[in-house]
Each structure stands twice: as structure tokens, then as C-alpha cells.
Amino acid sequence: MNLRTPEARGPAAALLHIDWTRCDGRGLCTEILPELLARDDWGYPLAYGYGSAGAGSNVPVPDTLLAAAADAVSLCPRQALTLVDP
């Protein structure tokens, strides 16, 4: 697995919240947001810098990726994603 550390990206404009009770792990969001999300061993979206202070379920989204994150929210087939305030 690719274990990049997150690059310095400035403050988060929003948090991408993953509802794990809905997500089926087919990984569409990881194709839309490869800068933020990898896939874990089973296909579920894995935030770079996971395991730290709750970022695993609330992924910080920089300004530049806000539009792509909004696409992921609307395209997620399970409606598992929401954008929430940081």
C-alpha cells in the first residue's frame, strides 16, 4: 500500500465525512479524489495520514479539491459521503 504522508496543503476548507455504515468500498471516491484517498486492503477509502486524530472518518479537504470532493459526494452510489464544516 501507498503510505504517503499528506503534503502541506493549507487549512482544510471542509471535512469529507465517511459514513462507514453505508460505504460498500467499491472505491469510486478514490478515483475522483486520488490526492486524498487511497484504498485499504478491502477497497474502502483510506485517507492519507489516517489513524491521526479522527482524520480517518473526517478527511480534511483543501480549497483546491473542494469541487472534486463535491463531485464525490454526489456520485457516491451509497450516499455515504457528506461535506461538513471543519
Binding site: 474502502y44 489516517y50 489513524g51
Partner: protein, 413 residues
């Protein structure tokens, strides 16, 4: 004894002295309760209760250790100001197999729990009040509720018999008639919980302390325990070959003292599990640490729900941890992919290490899986399981090495 107006009104009853507080009444019935503690004072308003709880320093006794006053403060002020909005829940689900203190409290001192519920509900002008408790205490709780006229509004519900049944959103789901499993949340329960109402959930021991703080005041509460952990706590103490016992001890007691008090030979232990299956190991050399946040932080533990489980030096800790991890993997609520897949995978790798597989990559693989599951579920079950497993690898590094070398001579039963 404090000199608050409440105690002045009822001078006949002395505040409990020493560490027997929640356990001060010699019997569980209402008459004994009243003669021991005196009547429940007229309800304070929410601002007064909040101030008393803040001054007391009472922390939640359910595991997370969140300050009790903060939870009350998290109910939005506009909801606290309106009457008949808030739902109050006393939580005695106690799904953790190593814990018995909530059940013991409800058997011994049910009326303190009821008083605590009525105090919080009264301060908030609650819409509804629930007591959520495991099957073994339903009968005695029913009897206690029937003994008094002021408790008729409290609804008693039987808790699900699973490890995560006491998780706050799982309790709310159960009370709403849904499956008793956690729900994804982006809004706090104190803003929107049961039926969309602001919902305040306290562990039953927390409520029992609140009942005493309402009577005898914050200064009295702090007169036992340490600055970092004021008041008393119920602890469930056990070890190999010793059935568990529930005790009431002063906050910040030395862990070795508590174990020895119950007859455990601390010299025969390799470590003590603090906080149960979601907790962490305290190695033998650290047994004189205090049961408070500051002393335990370095080991990744906290006083939590007050569980102390000694491990005999002859038992193989890797085998014990593998069995616990496998149990926890079976207790996922089956809804979050990283938890459902990751916990069994992590437990399986630990199991291989425990049963003689000498692949040197196994500990690293356990650590990798622990990092992957952490923070990636709708409740803290993956985080707690990973914490326990990582603590095992750290505290028992020598035993892990012995396994990799094929030299573990400890008891694997």
C-alpha cells in the same frame, strides 16, 4: 460536612465519611436508602446543577471519562431553557465482560441511580427518562422503581447483550426500537438524539454520584480522592484464579493497593489490564501507579470504567491477547467495512503469532492493521481494539520475541 442549604435543611443525616459512599447503605430498599442519605433535595435548575458538577470535577464513569458538567453544558441553552424537550438516559448496559460495577450498583444502591436520574431530569424538565440495564438487574430495578412514587416516569428497558450495547448511539437506537448498534453521527446526541430530541446519556455510576453531589455538595465530593481524580470510583478487580469483585475506592488510589486489598498477590503478576478489553496493559513495574489520568497516560490507559484485571506471570500474554482480539472481532456490529474486515484480520495475525508461527513479519503486520482500522468506524470499537492489541505488543515485547524464537514456555491454556 458541607454547609450548603440542602444539608442544612436535613440536619439529621450526615454526609457519608470515608470511601463508602455509593455503598454506604446497608441494604438496597428505599427506607434504608432514605435513612442513610436523607431525602432527595428539591431539584436545582440546570445552571445550578451545572455549576455544582463543574465544581465537583466529576468525570463520567462509563469509560470515556468525559466531565459530567460538560455533557450537561452540551445540551443547547435554548433546549435547556424550554421545558419537556430533553431525553435523559441512565446507561447500565455494561457490555464489557470484565466489568460488573454497574450491575452491582443497581443491585446494592438502585435508589441512588434513580435519584441521579430524577436530579438531571428535574434540572432539565425532561420530556422522558429511561434506565437501560442488562437482564440480570431488571428484576431488582423494577422492584426499586415500584417502591417510590416519584419514579413512575422512569421507563426501564432491557439492554442488548453485546459488547458494544452501551455505545451511546446504540442505546438510542435500541430505545427507538431499532437494532442496538451504533449509528453514524455528524451531530451530537445532546443536540439530536432519541426521536430527534436532545438526549443526555449518563452512566449509572455517574448518576449515583450526581445524586450525592446534589445532597452534600461539590466540596464534600472532592474531600476524598485526588485533585486529578476527585471522589470515589467503583472498580471491578480480578486476576487469574480470583473471581472478580466490585469495590468502592478513593479516586487516584494506587493500583497495587487495590489489587492487594482483594487478595491478589501482586508479586505474581506480569501486568494488569486497565480499562477492560478496550484498555491497555500496565506492566508489573508500574503497579504503584495511581488510578488517575496523569499516571496512566504514559501507558495509553485511563481509569475508564474502573476495570483492573491482573495477569499471572505464568500465563502467556500473547495467547490471552489473541483470544481477546478474536472475541472483539466477533463483536463488530457488522456495518463498517474497515471494522468488519480489519478486526478479524488483525486478530488472525495475532492468533498466528500466539500459536507458534515464527514469521518475523507478524508483529509489523499487526501494527499495520491496527493503524488501518483506527478512526475508521462509526463507533470507537476498532480504535479500542487496536489500542489493546498495540499495548500488548509494546508491554509484552519480550514475550513476542520469545514467540518468534520459538521459546515461549508460558501457559497457553
Amino acid at each position: 460536612m458541607s454547609s450548603t442549604a440542602d444539608t442544612w435543611l436535613f440536619p439529621a443525616v450526615q454526609a457519608p465519611v470515608g470511601t463508602a459512599r455509593l455503598t454506604a447503605a446497608p441494604a438496597a430498599d428505599y427506607a434504608t436508602h432514605q435513612s442513610t442519605f436523607g431525602p432527595l433535595p428539591a431539584h436545582a435548575d440546570s445552571a445550578a446543577l451545572l455549576a455544582a458538577l463543574r465544581d465537583s470535577g466529576l468525570e463520567g464513569r462509563g469509560g470515556a471519562g468525559f466531565p459530567a458538567w460538560r455533557k450537561l453544558a452540551a445540551v443547547p441553552a435554548r433546549e435547556r431553557a424550554r421545558r419537556r424537550r430533553v431525553v435523559v438516559i441512565g446507561n447500565a448496559a455494561e457490555g464489557e465482560p470484565l466489568s460488573q460495577k454497574d450491575a452491582t450498583l443497581l443491585l446494592r444502591s438502585p435508589h441512588l441511580v434513580i435519584d441521579g436520574l430524577l436530579t438531571v431530569a428535574g434540572a432539565l424538565g425532561a420530556h422522558s427518562v429511561y434506565l437501560y440495564a442488562q437482564a440480570s438487574v431488571i428484576e431488582s430495578a423494577t422492584r426499586a422503581l415500584a417502591e417510590r412514587a416519584d419514579a413512575s416516569a422512569i421507563e426501564l428497558r432491557e439492554a442488548a447483550d453485546t459488547f458494544i450495547s452501551g455505545e451511546a448511539s446504540a442505546v438510542v437506537n435500541a430505545l427507538a426500537g431499532r437494532a442496538p448498534i451504533p449509528q453514524d453521527r455528524t451531530v451530537r446526541l445532546t443536540e439530536s438524539g432519541l426521536g430527534g430530541r436532545p438526549t443526555l446519556l449518563h452512566n449509572v455510576e455517574t448518576l449515583a454520584h450526581i445524586a450525592l453531589i446534589a445532597r452534600f455538595g461539590a466540596a464534600w465530593f472532592r474531600s476524598v480522592g485526588t485533585t486529578g481524580d476527585p471522589g470515589t470510583r467503583l472498580v471491578t478487580v480480578g486476576s487469574d484464579g480470583h473471581p472478580s469483585r466490585v469495590l468502592e475506592v478513593a479516586g487516584g488510589s494506587r493500583i497495587g493497593d487495590v489489587l492487594r486489598f482483594t487478595g491478589v498477590d501482586t508479586g505474581s503478576l506480569s501486568a494488569v489490564l486497565v480499562g477492560g478489553y478496550h484498555g491497555a496493559w500496565l506492566p508489573a513495574y508500574a503497579l504503584e501507579a495511581r488510578l488517575d489520568r496523569a499516571d496512566l497516560a504514559g501507558f495509553g490507559a485511563n481509569p475508564g470504567a474502573g476495570i483492573l484485571m491482573g495477569l499471572g506471570e505464568r500465563r502467556c500474554p500473547v495467547a490471552v491477547a489473541a483470544a481477546v482480539a478474536s472475541y472483539l472481532a466477533g463483536e463488530t456490529a457488522g456495518q463498517c467495512g474497515p471494522c468488519v474486515n480489519g478486526l478479524p484480520a488483525m486478530a488472525a495475525v495475532l492468533g498466528r503469532l500466539a500459536t507458534g508461527d515464527r514469521d518475523p513479519g507478524l508483529p509489523g503486520e499487526v501494527r499495520r492493521l491496527a493503524a488501518i482500522v483506527t478512526g475508521r468506524g462509526s463507533c470507537n470499537h476498532p480504535d479500542g481494539t487496536a489500542r489493546f492489541v498495540l499495548s500488548t505488543l509494546t508491554v509484552f515485547a519480550d514475550d513476542v520475541t520469545a514467540h518468534l524464537n520459538g521459546h515461549c514456555r508460558k501457559d497457553h491454556r
